[in-house]
């Protein structure tokens, strides 16, 4: 402690460098642990599997973590299966308390749900809550949100559904909140018998006769054969009445593929399951990317390594400064063990203080970090994690003592006490310089990569979607799940259209940039090749309201193309080319054969359509996906409503918010600018860029510490040379240039190592994008400039000291 206090600048640099590195390491590793522990709250989660399905009737349909609910019963009798359960999410509810309507994240549970998830009521009777028609269970936070207290057993919640009408339920149980790292989040649970649930839905949830999809879990014995269970479930689906009812022609078109593919996925891996797509029945669950997590762990390790190397570097320089003390101790007969103990104790003290700083930093940064990661990380700093941090600090302290102690062993008293200082070996000096170079290279590479991701995310967010989104707002009706025109929705749209702040209203099945209803169709000319294309369902005035103009022919006209799924079709230029037309103009007026499961699975599924025009490219998909052939059809029952502002967007928003409750008093309006919907595709990239930016800043700070130390060391080593140069007439500027050359050389060497690696990383990152920011590789130059600037700042003090060095020093060395 005395040593630390004796040199406060050194101590501050040491402690802050190591503390900041440890703090960031703790946060990132804590986050990785959080991700790996998804669903561990489920008892014996390793043996619980989710049943996934992929329907093959629609070409290109993705996998969903849902399967026909009839499989629950079918699975329960299979060998190796311990139990089965699940939930359905067909019935979104809103809760009304004191006139305030809010969404309730409710699940309709199937038998065995509470047992499978190990749910225990804090208060009340959970079995009662899930079986009675007038009861439900609330989590503590939902109870607090709705009533302001958790003491709500027996109280009544006014519930409203999209249909059929308002009802009420008694709170029969209070549950602890599910952990944040779960793929089964909920606020309220109830059984299918809840009085609000329509009878047919309740029956379907239990029997699955209509093959509706639900989320199903099966618990298996450790020795169970997953392939055998999967095969049995596949057979059950193949034999299901809904499957059997399919016409032979539809089955023939599958070309030997199953109508529905079934597979099992471990519940523990659900968080990282990237192949799962979302549909209106999906829970809003975050999914993680294992590659990104591995990258974050690599950054965490890199930052800790940088901080540690920086500390070792500093400690080694400290040994060099303490040569005389060490030499005197050796002369006085200090034993090796004593010397090791002394260094270990000093290093441990520094590591423990740095750990405390790191933990404090982690605690302070946690809210910002949680926001950056878009996760509830409030439980990150558990006693276990803090104990692990202290253990890491101790290990780090002992490890970092080794090298300085080894250098101390090498101090030769005869040399040092004779005034011939700097007994550090050439190898040791080179090693330290290499460490500095690596530090700076890592910071520079990271900075370049981060900036590349940031610029690409910005580029993608601001890339033209094919129309001007600035005056467009979008929202969903019927909770986004109930496709179909209703009097209420028609009345709402009419009312909105009459608002002066609103220039027009269009509807579509899906918003641009979102794919909750991924429909596709098989399209061909008579005698031409079949083309699988995206099938977008839009209202007749969609193109008009979005301000989209045709490439050829015309787009839909609300006066003539009013009939849903009528004869006219609009395709894009890609579709025209794929269908064999030499130019978009040639496709206009042509008749196409259209096959989509929406029109039925039998012969009636094949309809003829007439191409009325060619639409320009509209970005329904992210820039990571190649633009696809697309066919637009008129559809009047879309759940996504787009409003075009006649003037101020804020006025249009106010108008929607005023009109909405008059037609949907039981629903919560979720209104957002259209731009935000497709920009959400890049939210993960933007978050990653922000996180990497944090990492880069930390790495830069640590590198700056490293450069500061390097500059100090350089100037110290060059003192005699600088004095001699001054003696022979060097000006201050000459000395400044000399130091700048030394530090600049180190930075350029670091650039030679760090920037090619960053360039490779950028190449890999940009690869999936179909369009890239033109500034992508300029980030390498920018990172170099930034690093040079940081180096200049970090080295400024010692460069100045060197410039001010008086040549008389030469006579005293």
């Amino acid at each position: 402690m005395r040593l630390l206090l004796a040199d406060p600048v050194y101590s501050l640099v040491t402690l802050l460098g190591l503390g900041v590195g440890l703090g960031v390491f703790l946060l990132l590793v804590g986050f990785a642990r959080y991700c790996w522990q998804y669903n561990t709250h489920v008892p014996d989660a390793e043996h619980v599997h989710v049943i996934k399905q992929r329907a093959n009737l629609e070409p290109g349909t993705p996998w969903y973590d849902q399967a026909p609910v009839l499989l629950r019963e079918a699975a329960s009798n299979l060998p190796g299966v311990v139990s089965t359960t699940g939930f359905v999410n067909w019935f979104p509810l809103t809760a009304q308390v004191d006139g305030q309507v809010s969404k309730l994240r409710n699940l309709t549970t199937l038998p065995g749900f509470a047992e499978m998830l190990g749910l225990r009521a804090i208060n009340g009777d959970l079995a009662d809550a899930l079986s009675r028609p007038d009861s439900l269970a609330l989590t503590e936070s939902a109870a607090r949100r709705l009533f302001g207290t958790t003491d709500v057993l027996g109280r009544t919640v006014t519930l409203k559904a999209v249909e059929p009408g308002p009802g009420a339920a008694r709170v029969a149980a209070i549950l602890p909140d599910p952990p944040a790292n779960t793929t089964i989040p909920f606020e309220a649970l109830h059984g299918p018998k809840l009085s609000l649930v329509p009878q047919w839905m309740a029956t379907e949830a239990i029997t699955g006769e209509m093959s509706f999809p639900g989320t199903l879990f099966i618990r298996v014995r450790p020795d169970a054969s997953i392939p055998a269970i999967t095969e049995a479930l596949q057979n059950a689906v193949d034999r299901a009445p809904a499957t059997q009812r399919l016409p032979a022609a539809a089955k023939d078109r599958l070309g030997g593929r199953k109508i529905v593919d079934i597979k099992l996925a471990p519940l523990r891996d659900a968080y990282f399951d990237r192949e799962i797509a979302i549909n209106p029945f999906s829970l809003k669950v975050d999914r993680g990317n294992p590659a990104v997590l591995a990258g974050l762990l690599a950054i965490a390790s890199l930052i800790l390594a940088l901080a540690t190397l920086n500390y070792v570097n500093l400690a080694t320089i400290r040994v060099a400064r303490r040569e005389r003390e060490i030499a005197m101790r050796k002369v006085l007969g200090v034993k090796r063990q004593r010397l090791v103990l002394q260094f270990a104790a000093e290093s441990l003290l520094v590591a423990m203080l740095a750990t405390a700083i790191g933990l404090l930093l982690a605690y302070l940064l946690l809210p910002v970090f949680a926001q950056l990661m878009n996760r509830d990380l409030s439980s990150l700093l558990t006693p276990g994690n803090i104990a692990a941090a202290v253990a890491i600090g101790i290990v780090l302290g002992l490890l970092t003592a080794l090298y300085p102690a080894w250098i101390a062993f090498g101090v030769r008293p005869s040399q040092v006490l004779a005034g011939r200082a700097h007994t550090e070996s050439v190898l040791s000096k080179r090693l330290r310089q290499t460490l500095s170079v690596l530090q700076i290279a890592a910071a520079m590479g990271l900075a370049s990569f981060t900036l590349g991701i940031y610029l690409q995310a910005r580029f993608a967010m601001n890339a033209s979607p094919g129309f001007d989104p600035s005056s467009l707002l979008a929202f969903e009706i019927n909770e986004g799940v109930m496709m179909g025109e209703s009097e209420v929705s028609r009345a709402l749209i009419t009312a909105l259209s009459q608002e002066p702040a609103i220039a027009g209203v269009a509807t579509a099945a899906d918003a641009v940039g979102r794919s909750r209803y991924p429909l596709s169709a098989e399209v061909k000319q008579e005698g031409g090749p079949s083309v699988i294309m995206d099938n977008k369902l839009v209202s007749a005035n969609f193109f008009e309201q979005y301000g989209i103009r045709p490439v050829a022919g015309r787009l839909f006209d609300s006066q003539t193309d009013w009939k849903s799924e009528g004869d006219p079709v609009v395709i894009n230029a890609l579709a025209a080319r794929a269908l064999g037309f030499a130019s978009p103009q040639q496709a206009v007026g042509q008749t196409l054969l259209f096959r989509s499961s929406r029109f039925g699975t039998g012969p009636q599924g094949l309809v003829t359509k007439r191409v009325v025009g060619i639409a320009p490219e509209i970005r329904f998909h992210s820039l990571r996906e190649v633009p696809r052939a697309t066919a637009y059809e008129v559809f009047t029952s879309g759940v996504t409503v787009t409003v075009r502002a006649s003037g101020s967007v804020a006025d249009a928003e106010r108008a929607v918010r005023t009109v909405w409750p008059q037609y949907y008093p039981n629903s919560v309006l979720e209104l957002s600018p259209v731009k935000d919907i497709y920009a959400a595709n890049y939210a993960d990239d933007a978050r990653l860029a922000r996180l990497l930016a944090l990492g880069t800043i930390i790495a830069m700070i640590i590198a700056a510490f490293g450069i500061y130390v390097l500059a100090a060391d350089t100037v110290q080593r060059l003192t005699a040379a600088i004095a001699m140069r001054k003696l022979f007439g060097a000006r201050r500027l000459d000395i400044g240039k000399l130091v700048a050359r030394k530090i600049g050389g180190t930075v350029l060497l670091s650039a030679a190592i760090g920037l090619p690696i960053a360039a490779l990383a950028l190449v890999r990152y940009f690869a999936p994008y179909t369009e890239r920011t033109p500034l992508g590789y300029w980030t390498l130059v920018f990172a170099l400039i930034v690093t040079l600037a940081v180096a200049a700042l970090a080295a400024a003090r010692h460069a100045w000291l060197a410039m001010m060095l008086r040549p008389i020093v030469a006579l005293r060395v």
């Binding site: 001699m724 140069r725 022979f728 007439g729 060097a730 006579l811 060395v813």
Partner: protein, 227 residues
């Protein structure tokens, strides 16, 4: 050429004030060879640093080639010193990271001598001192005598008017020390003024004049007998 008039230099360390030079007056003519002797701490090195314009006196005058430089700032002193004063030291002060040739060239690096001429002059000087074959070596690869010859080459390569030598034989054995003394003698004979600090009476006797210092004062001067 050089004249000190009632020059004083003090060093303050906390509450302790040390008078390194106390009211010294000394005149050195161009081409002279002077030895400065005295016990440790008598002010020899301080005298040398003032003569070399590395430090300024606190009081008195210092005339160098007709200009009173006492009170000049570092930049002006630097300008005057460049090419006019050469230095050699007891511990050679060669830069280990540079080769022998680069060490010598260092003295010309901040002058206006073109690069080509610099290289020629360095090569000539190294050859003159018999170490041309060691031009590419690092200082640590040379013997002590060779290192001091490199230091002398560096001091002379810009053809200074005055050569200041601080214990030039202090780190050398007698044979190498004698060799250095012979070289200094030749340099002086070629017209360069030399001021040499030494503890060795024998080496001091090689100078034309000896100045004895005790406690920062000149204890007396002895006219040397020209050999």
């Amino acid at each position: 050429m050089i004249k000190l008039v009632r020059t004083t230099k003090k060093f303050v360390g906390g509450e302790v004030v040390t008078t390194a030079l106390n009211d010294i007056s000394l005149e050195i003519a161009a081409g002279e060879y002077i030895a400065v002797t005295g016990p440790s701490g008598c002010g020899k090195s301080t005298l040398l640093s003032i003569l070399g314009m590395l430090d300024s006196p606190d009081a008195g005058e210092y005339w160098f080639e007709g200009q009173d430089v006492a009170g000049w700032n570092e930049a002006k002193l630097n300008e005057l010193r460049r090419g006019r004063v050469g230095f050699i030291f007891q511990n050679f002060n060669l830069i280990e990271e540079l080769s022998v040739r680069e060490n010598v060239e260092l003295a010309l690096e901040y002058s206006d001598v073109p690069a080509r001429e610099r290289r020629e002059r360095v090569a000539q000087m190294l050859d003159h001192l018999g170490i041309g074959h060691r031009a590419r070596h690092r200082p640590s690869q040379l013997s002590g005598g060779q290192q001091q010859r490199v230091a002398i080459a560096r001091a002379l390569v810009n053809r200074p008017a005055v050569l200041l030598a601080d214990e030039p034989t202090g780190n050398l054995d007698s044979a190498h020390g004698e060799e250095v003394m012979r070289i200094l003698q030749q340099i002086n004979e070629a017209g360069t003024t030399i001021v040499m600090v030494t503890h060795s009476p024998a080496h001091a006797a090689r100078a034309a004049r000896t100045v004895g210092l005790i406690d920062g004062r000149i204890a007396g001067t002895a006219e040397a007998v020209a050999a």
